[in-house]
Amino acid sequence: MIEGFERLGVSVKHVWGMTETSPCGTSPQPSRATATLSRQHQLRRKISQGQPIYGVDVKIADERGNEIPRDGTSSGRFMVRGPWVISGYYRDDKPLLEDGWFNTGDLATIDADNYIQLTDRAKDVIKSGGEWISSIDVENLAMGCPGVAEAAVIGHSHPQWEERPLLVVVPTASNAATARSIIAFLEGKIAKWWIPTISSSSMR
């Protein structure tokens, strides 16, 4: 989507947030260092969730709350804290924070420059043959496929693999994608066993 707008001469600034962070939490800040990177690397930063904005602290943690290294590849529960981050839900006494940190429900990696990349909603991760498939990665790729207007990936139960990814697509009105064209588009961009089954009401 960002690439599409930039092709039209519209520059895009990406902000991550949620109601619970009222709402801005992180954003990629253009910097001199970024300007020296290759176009591809710059785009990667632009489509990431960016860095925490002033006042917001972030970390990724394991199930017990131990911080996970910011190496750009290890992923963990994405947690935030700050003055405009939620402390509890209205009329709900259940303690919400873990040591002052709010668990966003997202999984993320953070790199050495503090760039955050959400990898999935914790409950949307698909487990296939004992390995994880990121539904977001497949969704984002499918959204970039010509002829796809909307895309969503869900896990459906499978007798052999436990779960398999199912890609649900709304094709564009003209030059609509076909199941075959989407698979051809995805091939080589993701591992073979991540290639989803494709479903569409108006697709052959």
């Binding site: 989507m1 599409g4 707008f5 039209l8 519209v10 902000v15 959204m143 207007a149 564009t172 003209s174």
Partner: protein, 44 residues
């Protein structure tokens, strides 16, 4: 809905807008279907 937003942007010469991805996906699709970029306002 994307059409009325596109018209508003062009008529009012809007240069900055904030919104959620769902809205922008529809807007991008609108301009791509038309095969053109949003017109720049020539106003003041």
């Amino acid at each position: 809905m994307p059409q009325s937003i596109a018209e508003l942007i062009e008529a009012e010469g809007v240069t900055v807008a904030a919104g959620v991805p769902t809205l922008y996906a529809k807007l991008l699709q609108h301009f791509e279907t038309q095969g053109r970029a949003p017109a720049r306002s020539s106003g003041s």
